[in-house]
């Protein structure tokens, strides 16, 4: 046999096998490659960690220099070098106690403190001044932080071929940390940044920690743990590259990846099979806000310079572009929603400069002033609100400043903010959601056979709950969950199979998904409370 004959035979064999390969969509490939690059960055962060960590420890708070900011600035004692404009501030990372050129990956709030992780671990009680709280034993980059009251857990990425990830635990609001290790996330595949946990949340319903990210075998992963030390996988095998997890506002969770969504109504114990979201054409999810009612899409052609803001009323299964709301020529990388303040961060697609926005209704947004943006390119992707201060940080070390917004000074009254989601309460329980800054807007109605009986029982409670309501109606829903207003002085809440509409005389303009209210409007109402 000649070399040519061997070559032709080898070619035929390969071509035959190639026919068995399924061809993915171009869209999914674009997203997958993009995600791979992101997780590879996490591995690079690990390398930086080993070099930067000793310097970070030495720099603990040494750069903190307080300055007085004159005028109407809402910020006091800002670090040296800060620049203020209106309700916003641009603050040098180094002077604030964050290592100036350090990669950051994750942020979480306990309500009284904010913890930032990456190539180190930092704590702040005001979002403006930071101190390193990294334990000496920390040797890997922190990729996810979750808080439950004063209890905090942080997970690291794998380092090289290390078979273990580090678990950092704090029970004193992040002041001190213990370090242990776990191998429960799977065999490391460092070249793919796996395993890589990027979301870490506490489940009140399951009394467990829930972690989401990319599993070592290449698929999306969600794991749960009661103590943070031992973990087990709960998300079934799928074809996604990673999973970000957000709370659904009902005690459950939504995991998402590109155009796929999984839901866990029981607090993370079990998950629905992966299913594609219904999205506008050429759009996949780029960031999802807590509650699963707001998301930022991305044009899968990677060419359209605007981010469509999307709204969902069905736990992320269907997303509708909200044409009323625009953040301009932007790419949104992340959302947060704390203390009644929505925050969005990303960069302007026109010049790749960082940008950030705050809002109390997720419809009307106030942007970081142009005068505060650094001249260089960069992206913001982390935000959190503590008190009335919202902090925005970049994962990129090249962005050596971070940004803060004071909602009241930026013209936002967060005390009238829209809730992020509908509190899940049974009508017959009739328990207001005392955790919400507003009177509760809804009670979930879950049993059709006893609905009227339940509502009759709950009517006094509903009247107390909505003292200003002119009318409360209950009618058929759409298997959806969402709260907002119709823009005409009514709040509508769509809960599971039923809808509860509370007519208020002067409801603020909370967001509503297009179509849903209009679909509901005019349908038979089977229970009415008139004032």
């Amino acid at each position: 046999m000649t070399v040519d004959e061997r070559g032709h035979a080898a070619r035929a064999a390969v071509l035959e096998e190639l026919e068995t390969i399924s061809v993915p969509s171009a869209t999914s490939v674009l997203r997958r490659v993009r995600a791979r690059r992101q997780v590879r960055r996490l591995v690079l962060v690990g390398v930086v960690t080993a070099v930067v960590m000793p310097v970070v420890v030495l720099e603990r708070s040494n750069h903190r220099v307080d300055v007085n900011v004159s005028g109407t600035s809402p910020f006091r004692d800002l670090p040296k070098g800060s620049v203020v404009s209106g309700g916003w501030a641009s603050i040098p990372k180094g002077a604030a106690g964050l290592s100036g050129t350090t990669d950051l990956s994750t942020i979480a709030s306990t309500g009284t403190a904010v913890i930032v992780g990456g190539a180190g671990l930092w704590r702040s009680t005001d979002g403006l001044h930071w101190s390193s709280v990294a334990p000496d034993a920390l040797s890997q980059p922190v990729t996810a932080i979750g808080a439950h009251g004063p209890d905090i857990i942080a997970l690291t990425g794998t380092e090289g071929r290390a078979a273990t990830m580090q678990v950092l635990r704090s029970s004193d609001d992040g002041k001190s940390w213990s370090v242990s290790t776990t191998s429960d996330f799977g065999t490391p595949a460092p070249s793919m940044g796996r395993p890589g946990v990027t979301s870490l949340l506490w489940s009140d319903a399951a009394q467990e920690w829930v972690a989401g990210g990319g599993a070592s075998e290449g698929n999306a992963g969600v794991w749960v743990s009661t103590d943070g030390r031992s973990w087990h996988s709960v998300l079934p095998a799928n074809h996604a590259g990673s999973a970000d997890v957000v709370p659904d506002g009902f005690g459950g969770f939504i995991a998402w990846w590109a155009d796929q969504v999984w839901t866990s109504p029981d607090g993370g114990r079990t998950w629905t099979p992966d299913a594609p979201s219904e999205l506008p054409p050429h759009t996949t999810l780029n960031a999802m806000a807590p509650g699963g009612v707001l998301a930022a899409g991305v044009d899968t052609t990677y060419s359209t310079p605007t981010t469509p803001l999307l709204r969902s009323a069905d736990h992320g299964k269907t997303w509708i572009e909200d044409a009323r709301t625009t953040l301009g020529l932007t790419i949104v990388r992340g959302f947060s929603h704390d203390s009644g303040i929505w925050a969005a961060e990303g960069h302007l697609s026109s010049d790749d400069r960082p940008s950030a926005w705050i809002s109390t209704d997720s419809v009307n947004w106030t942007a970081l002033p142009s005068s505060l943006k650094p001249s260089g390119k960069g992206d913001l992707s982390l935000s959190v609100t503590i008190g009335t201060t919202t902090v925005f940080l970049s994962e990129e070390s090249r962005v050596d400043r971070f940004f803060a917004a004071s909602a009241p000074s930026a013209g936002l009254d967060h005390t009238t903010a829209c809730p992020s989601s509908v509190p899940r309460r049974l009508v017959d329980g009739a328990v207001p959601d005392s955790g919400d800054p507003l009177p509760p807007l809804a009670y979930a109605v879950t049993n059709r056979t006893t609905i009227e009986q339940q509502l009759a029982t709950a009517e006094p409670e509903l009247r107390r709950t909505y003292p200003r309501a002119t009318r409360i109606e209950v009618g058929p829903g759409f298997g959806a969950a969402w709260t907002g207003t119709n823009g005409r002085g009514s709040s509508i809440v769509l809960v599971d199979d039923y809808a509860l509409v509370v007519h208020l005389p002067d409801t603020s303009a909370c967001p509503r998904p297009p179509r849903l209210y209009d679909q509901w409007h005019g349908t038979p109402v089977f229970y009415v409370i008139d004032r």
């Binding site: 061809v23 490659v33 095998a237």
Partner: protein, 176 residues
Amino acid sequence: MKPAPERHLVEARLTFDAFFAADYRAVVGLAAVLCGDRAVAEELAQEAFVAAFRRWETVGTYDDPGGWVRRVVANMATSVWRSRLREASALARLRSRQQPAAELSAVDSDFWAGVRRLPRRQTQCVALHYLEDRPVDEIAAVLGIASSTVRVHLHQGRIALARMLGEREEDDHDGR
């Protein structure tokens, strides 16, 4: 009606989609014979297609955008990517055990293993010649080198393969 720029994007997207669907398997195949691993090959192919997409306004006007993608894949598969993605090979094997998928065992044959042991340019030329049945001029266009250089690499590659495989080389292949 959408504004003109968006229509342009949509049209570009559809063109790229068609190109992607038509060439994906072949590019994966080329990457597979060059690197010897299906999962890594898919990664390389996907990276190459994304690179093409980002330059689609230019690449899409080429007579042979597939050639451009193949050049990217050939260079990636025989460069530092090979070592960087070696660990992903182990990952892919692990994944294949957990999630049965179509394998490309044919790329493990002695022939392709021999091709991968050739010097870089010889590997690229021989792979394009035998896998894609491309004539010398096309191989030269894909790799951006002279046709005469391709002939030399093919000739030397065949000699080396013949020695490795214990076969005889055949004359007069390069003139197509």
